[in-house]
Amino acid sequence: MNALNNHSLILTTLEGVPGKEIVEHYGLVQGSTIRAKHVGKDIMAGFKNIVGGELKGYTELLQEARKESVERMVMQAEQLGANAVVNIRFATSSVAPGAAELFAYGTAVKVQ
């Protein structure tokens, strides 16, 4: 299963947690990663670019980056004493040629 589900915190893109009540707000938490492309994968992607379609190596890279940025966000939330992160959003940007940033942010809350 997805590594997002390995921790005890509840993560949602909603403004609350269904069936539970928010008792405390801890404010914004965030996590980001910047990943560069792998040379070998880049060469393979270059070949793949002739015929098009999914670039599996890059998909994996993106998934790893996403997991890590979420983990960093979760770590920050745990330090604050939260047990859920609500209203999570993702943003991506390419900072430099060949490097991509993945940014996750949300609001840390305590629910009951």
Partner: protein, 145 residues
């Protein structure tokens, strides 16, 4: 000889790329039909969800690239402007694939519906203009059960 290589690459891109795209669309359509019973929506953040006992975020992501033929035809299209049809199918494929990956994972978890779905797209263009043209697409939402 110098003209031959790009010509061959374009031909490969056109035939193989077209074939792959058709296969991908066939798989997307089949899976969309299979997962049709789980409703998905992009609202739900502010509503009460009385049936929900548990909520969990799910993410689906994909990186898709265009083929050599499409790159060339888009470059030609750039001269006169207008709709770039070859790129439209590329992003469409990517979005639907990312959405399906999220949905399938949520169904595996036991979701009854998926609310507040969002998309995030960015291109990983590579070095300058000569790099590869690829887009990364993420779909994420909250599954409830």
């Amino acid at each position: 000889m110098e003209l031959l290589v790009p010509l061959i690459l374009t031909a490969i891109g056109f035939f193989v790329g077209k074939n792959l795209e058709q296969k991908h669309y066939a798989s997307i359509k089949a899976r969309e039909k299979q997962t049709l019973h789980i409703p998905m929506m992009n609202f739900g953040a502010k509503q009460d969800l009385p049936h929900a006992h548990e909520a969990q975020m799910f993410v689906g992501s994909v990186v898709v690239a265009n083929d050599y033929f499409k790159t060339l035809s888009a470059a030609l299209r750039n001269l006169v402007g207008g709709r770039v049809v070859v790129y439209e199918s590329l992003v469409d494929r990517g979005r639907r694939e990312a959405l399906l990956r999220m949905k399938e994972e949520a169904i595996g978890w036991g979701a009854s519906q998926i609310v507040n779905v969002r998309f995030e797209t960015s291109n990983i263009g590579g070095q300058g203009g000569g790099g590869l043209a690829a887009v990364e697409i993420m779909a994420y939402g909250t599954a409830i059960r």
